[in-house]
Amino acid sequence: MNKSHSFTFITRSAPYGSNRPNLCLDTALAASVFEQQVNYIFMEDGVYQLLKNQDAGSINSKTLGNILETLNLYGVENIYICADAMEERNLSADDLVISAKLISNDEFKTILLDSNTVFNL
């Protein structure tokens, strides 16, 4: 199967409070198994998923912090962070577990226009 279909996943929820980040991640990993092109965009509260030093054992959950490692492991390479989201939350690259490409809203729009299917969680 060739990479003819492009999926974009917008993850805009904080971790642990709801299962939306997990739904988004699981679906993206499923798409990567089909060897399709996958874009993964952290927007709004979604950037909180990338904070360092998470330890969800304290609430009997699995830590989401290594999410980017998982994405990379599955071959998802197009990972983006909304620059606006970082700024609004007073966050800098140092606060995050890993660096991904910061994008403007215009770049975001271009990615969406080039996508075949968009999941927005």
Binding site: M43, E44, F108, K109, L112, L113, T117, V118, N120
Partner: protein
């Protein structure tokens, strides 16, 4: 390559504001469920409706006692129109 966005929460959610960050000229927005309360907030829609067509799902408007008047920048859309919009735009992004 335009997009239909559906928005399904009331203005309190600021869901439209999120959506507008990445709406392109020529896209359309359909307000559904509690999203239809946006149809009565012309103050929030003012900048939008120049470049983006806005619709409110008729059945949800009726349920809530909301009417779209003639001079409104938002159009009534039945479920049939909802389907038609999905066909006419290249993809659908749901905001919920």
């Amino acid at each position: 390559m335009n997009i239909l966005h559906t928005v399904s929460q009331s203005p309190k959610s600021r869901l439209l504001e999120s959506c507008l960050n990445i709406v392109s000229d020529g896209d359309a927005i359909l307000f559904i469920e509690d999203g239809v309360y946006y149809c009565k907030r012309e103050d929030l829609l003012e900048q939008v409706t120049n470049t983006v067509k806005c619709f409110g799902l008729k059945e949800d408007l009726i349920a809530r006692g909301l009417q779209i008047k003639g001079e409104s920048t938002v159009e009534n859309a039945s479920y049939r129109k909802f389907v038609e919009l999905c066909v006419n735009y290249d993809k659908v992004i749901s905001w919920f």
